[in-house]
Symmetry: C3
Subunit: 142 residues, 3 copies
């Protein structure tokens, strides 16, 4: 038999860059520990930010990722949609490249991620934005 | 207790570009309104098209996205797989970049997307193709 | 009523490239055939590999994809995180571009993928690595 939990929460506002938010997510969704097996879907309700899983140790990886995404979707005068600032349209491209949701397995009350995996917020706008996440857990309770 | 609905449908054929299809999806999957909480998975059964969530307002964003994806995976004579036309292999690369499925939370009978988020079809082939989507809903009914 | 199955398995080790692993996955997760309708989530527990769906026929497409991802995230001296080799940081960027999980619909005991779709492992490190996948099935049993 399956149970459901759904929680909406805001992340603390951050300026452009990649951030490790595993701890922040786990604090907002303590219900994970009640599930023996299941899936948590994390969904960010924005179009110039993204969620991804990547390395959870060396902060330089996050700095390099931010720069690499700038090379993949550079600012420039080649966009039509330019009214919201030079960082806006590149942000939309990065958002569709990185994605806005994650589906992560739960096993014995914990995220069943690899040793080196952490949850990242990728913020693509220069100025700090408050980003909202809908977390939906579905699984079999302990 | 969880319920399931699964619907397969075709999108109206479109030539290369990015398209807002939220309304078309909602018309094909009216079952969404029966769920108090859940997840809808939209899965496009193709390898040179993609599904993404992005800005639902200014059509210029879709035009810019199509051009940005052309820069990320340009046509050219650097592909071995070239028999199906110059737009084919770039289409495969874009498909793996953007992705072919979306998992979107449902809350109180509605997609729980952000204010500015819409569902996009990204068509990567020049000529019009009819694309099939498998929509799978899992959740707790109202 | 929903059932759950969860299986963790290792793929046979491979060096850098894209590989069709549909058959390997189906052998590791025979439980798929027990489900009338559902979703399988495949989650790779690594940060320099990825999972994607793409063309299941011509091996040249996999060769071209590997080269295309090299153009999207090239090796070079522009990374700060360089201690683990020149292929490491590009691998992290590709992993967040391609993604580490897939959610695929199940219908009548089979993956409901398109005719030309196969499951790919994208290995981004030069040397062979053993990669672990967590497969989680949720659905209505037959």
């Amino acid at each position: 038999m399956s149970s459901w939990d759904q929680v909406t929460f805001s992340l603390s506002p951050r300026s452009k860059g990649c951030y490790l938010i595993t701890k922040e997510v786990l604090e907002k969704v303590p219900q994970i520990k009640n599930y023996e097996v299941g899936i948590i879907n994390l969904f960010i309700q924005h179009t110039s930010a993204g969620l991804t899983l990547n390395e959870n140790c060396d902060p330089d990886v996050r700095t390099d990722m931010d720069a690499a995404l700038d090379r993949i979707a550079p600012e420039g005068d080649h966009y039509i949609h330019a009214d919201e600032g030079p960082d806006d349209m590149p942000g939309h491209v990065k958002s569709s490249t990185v994605g806005v949701s994650l589906s992560i397995p739960i096993t014995n009350g914990k995220l069943n991620t690899g040793t080196w995996q952490g949850i990242w917020l990728c913020e693509f706008r220069n100025y700090k934005h408050t980003r909202r996440i809908v977390a939906t857990i579905n699984g079999k309770r302990k």
